[in-house]
Amino acid sequence: MLEEGKTLKDVLIKVVDAAAQKFGADYVEIRAQRLFKTMLTLKEDRVEAAKQGIENGAALRVLMNGAWGFASVGTLDTETLTDAVSDACKMAKTASVRLKTPIKLIETKAAEDKVLVKPRKDPSKISIEDKINTPLTMSNTILGHDSRVKSCTIDYLDLTGTSYFINNEGTYIEQDKLYVWSRILATATEAGIFTFSREEIGSTAGYEIFDVETPEIVGERVAKRAVEQLKAKPPKGGTFPVVLGPNVVGVFVHEAFGHLAEADLTLSGSVLSDKLGKKIASDIVTFYDDGTIPGAFGSFKYDDEGVPAQKTILVKDGVVSGLMHNRETAQKFDTKPTGNARAEDFRVEPIIRMRNTFMEPKDHSFQELVEDIKFGYYFKSFRGGQANLDGTFQVGIQEAYEIVNGEVGEPVCNASMSGNTLETLLKVDAAGKDFELWPGRCGKGQTAFVCDGGPHIRVKGVLVGGSA
């Protein structure tokens, strides 16, 4: 492997030189990957298929005449890569014909590094038989929980391998990749009522994630929710005070604020475009996007432009204090890149993505958050969320309860909340002292592995979409 790596480095250097010297690229980078995946799908206690995959490939990106050219190929030899980079240069030239504002990159320090991951339990060293036992135990726990639980679907993925990044500015990085992920879905049925419950597990540390999130613990959590939802009632539609659990706060921060603070979307005219340095939230609101949390699902050492990941402050005490950047948007804002350029794999170009996005905890207990609410909702766990550039957010809730006279009451099904970011963040009036970070996946054309989190919080009023 090491020798192959060296050979690959030589090839990459040669191709980068050709792009800069022979084809006239102003900037060139190659991201080569050798990836191995194990995937499992279980439906109830049936292993639908055990799957293993090998993916080799390279993404070649050049900047020429102020426009980007990109090529992706699945072969890592000098000839193919040279053809591809020549292709990318042609693409850039073609694209530049109608350019009004040439694209420039902010300067960064060249880096040479080799990043190794040292998992306690390396998924590539665990047999498939053993791996199958993890979702199988989950499945048995879920189906054994209650006879009304009728089905479960469990997906498992581990990804290992190496990513090689090189550019013509002297950066060369070899970075190990390691992801362990699982998604667990369960349904329960009784008297024509159908409920649905989901969980995700994700880590960049190693297979040891299952020592904490054991199949039994996760299985119980999923099954219990599906059964409890059977007796849940639909929420009333309208504006209500809500207490959000860390899992919902995370997705709220991610959807309602995070996407708008991705500098490419800010430049596209998101409602934050004229808000940098301005107060948009109550004093207790402080948001971070942090790529450096060890083992978290959204962490990495270098992003896909070779920029080191960092802890980026987005909102400080209610004031917009930073955005998430790649080298292109950092140049536009005349600021430092934040290490948020990520590509799902060698088939696609890096774009600005979140990492681990969260709200900072404060000082309230859960009881204090709930006690003054006469009627409202406690949203504990989310099903999905989506943002829009005008600041409209939506978060669908899979586990909710009524709050009646300061107490958490009956379960509520199929609720969702919506509002406008700029109005809603001003209504966040208290935050708990607890903190949780939850793994998930974010879609922006490509999929990125992320974490979202925060403490419990209270929001004075948010629109609840209910059918009752």
Binding site: K43, V47, E48, A49, A50, K51, Q52, G53, I54, E55, N56, A67, G69, F70, A71, S72, V73, G74, T75, A84, A88, M91, A92, T94, A95, V97, R98, L99, K100, I132, K150, S151, T187, F194, T195, F196, P234, G237, L267, S268, G269, V271, R347, E349, G384, Q386, L389, D390, G391, T392, Q394, V395, G396, I397, C413, N414, S416, L463, G465, S467
Partner: protein, 454 residues
């Protein structure tokens, strides 16, 4: 890079099948996929990027003692890589658990003919041509109104080819083209920003209208300005195809998949022959739809694609099956096995989900509504309850209809309800059928939808 030809793809697949049989599997299937895509990309008002993506690979499904293993590789240049893929499929099957419900892989059958799925004009498109297409679209949007900002979009041309071979005599090749052109815009005026508005064309033949896309994306953004909140009430809603596609993808389409039915995840279980929708609703899953975005000769298992009646005048008639779910019930697959290129095993999925059009023009449909909402897109449809069909989503953008005319754009209105109730409340269908993803449908008027305004 050289394009893999039909014979090369067939050889690759058949070699993998014979190698696996030599290694002692009971059954084996090899899928070879090739996708060549050229894109020109618009970012923030200008063409800023162009890309060429070549993705191809081999997926091998091996069955030993009723246990299924799968492996894929995108290294196709060496016999050693093919052999490794076969061996990994084999070792995966050995590690997996037997499934008593497994019968066997599909056998060879004659395919129906498909029309307008391949156009050599699309294959020949260069990035220069796509720059012209994207420019026409961009110019049309910018000329339309100063308040419009084109945030992203582009034009792309793809050539896709696939081969499937199995130990049961299947060895088939098919190829096709897709051309897409799209533009997302926002409107802005005096501090107000509209939600993202979007228009596009996607066709198998080179038959797109970039100027129309540009004009339409601009028109939507301008008309989404000056948005007002509306009151909470139960009202009439016209869903455009965009909104309908988002809503149905996460609910109704799952409910008719045999996999969901067999596993007690579908509200349609046991309801074949029963009335599940308004009698003006007729739906086919049509894998042979002329020029359909999901029209192919065969599905992801080499089974002929077909036209399957799903709902006939409101009565539920059939579910859709792949090979596994069909044989479990002693039936034949309806050709609904779908795969994510070479990367995955097959899954039950709709092909072209065709909700038959009515005969009213969109304008007539609006005229029929005294009070209601025209909903273009939805936010949050993926957070619907896929088992019960309940949804709670935001309509962005949407327009209030008053006395048969569009009155104003609405802001942040939520819709809550159940897709199965929506189906029974469909009261009229327009004649403006179009293709969006796997949906082919017109605008649909639905009564009694709960709208939460404030």
């Amino acid at each position: 890079m050289v394009v893999l030809k039909q014979e090369e793809m067939l050889n690759l697949a058949e070699d993998a099948v014979s190698l696996a049989l030599m290694k002692g599997v009971d059954e084996v299937e090899a899928f070879v996929y090739q996708g060549l895509t050229t894109n020109v990309i618009i970012e923030r008002g200008q063409i800023a990027r162009s890309s060429r993506i070549i993705d191809r690979g081999l997926g091998v499904r091996a069955i030993i003692n009723k246990a299924v293993g799968f492996s894929y590789t995108n290294i196709l240049e060496s016999k050693a890589a093919t052999e490794e893929a076969v061996l990994k499929a084999l070792s995966s099957a050995k590690a997996s658990k037997p499934d008593e419900a497994w019968h066997n892989l599909p056998a060879k059958k004659t395919f129906a003919s498909v029309e307008n799925t391949y156009d050599s004009n699309v294959v020949e498109l260069q990035s220069e041509d796509l720059v012209k297409v994207a420019s026409m679209m961009l110019d049309a949007a910018e000329k339309a109104d100063k308040r419009v900002f084109p945030i992203e979009g582009g034009a792309g041309a793809s050539y896709l080819s696939r081969v499937i071979a199995n130990s049961n005599g299947v060895a088939s090749f098919d190829h096709g083209t897709i051309i897409e052109c799209s533009l997302a815009t926002i409107g802005h005026e005096g501090g107000e920003v509209t939600p993202v508005c979007f228009e596009f064309n996607a066709e198998r033949n080179y038959n797109i209208d970039p100027e129309w896309i540009g004009r339409e994306a601009a028109r939507l953004a301008v008309s989404a300005l000056k948005a007002k909140r509306m009151e909470t009430k139960t009202t009439n809603v016209i869903f455009t195809q965009f909104a309908l596609q988002q809503l149905l993808y996460f609910t109704l389409i799952n409910a008719v998949k045999a996999d969901y039915v067999q596993r007690n995840q579908s509200a349609f279980k046991g309801k074949i022959g029963e009335k599940v929708a308004s009698e003006i609703v007729t739906i086919y899953d049509d894998g042979l739809f002329n020029g359909g975005l999901r029209t192919w000769k065969f599905d992801g298992e080499g089974v002929p694609q077909q036209k399957t009646l799903i709902i006939e005048k409101g009565i539920l008639r059939n579910f859709i099956y792949d090979n596994y779910t069909a044989k479990k019930e002693g039936k034949e697959s309806t050709g609904n096995a779908s795969r994510a290129g070479y990367l995955s095993t097959p899954n039950v999925e709709a092909t072209n989900f065709h909700l038959m059009a009515g005969n009213k023009s969109p304008k007539e449909l609006i005229t029929e509504v005294d009070e209601g909402l025209l909903v273009y897109y939805l936010q949050g449809a993926h957070s619907s309850n896929p088992a019960s069909g309940e949804f709670s989503v935001v309509a962005t953008p949407a327009w209030k209809i008053k006395n048969g005319e569009i009155a104003y754009a609405t802001k942040g209105a939520m819709l809550a309800g159940n897709i199965f109730e929506v189906l029974t409340n469909v009261s009229a269908l327009a004649d403006n059928e179009r293709k969006i993803g796997q949906l082919v449908a017109p605008w649909v008027l639905v009564e009694n939808v709960k709208v939460i305004g404030k």
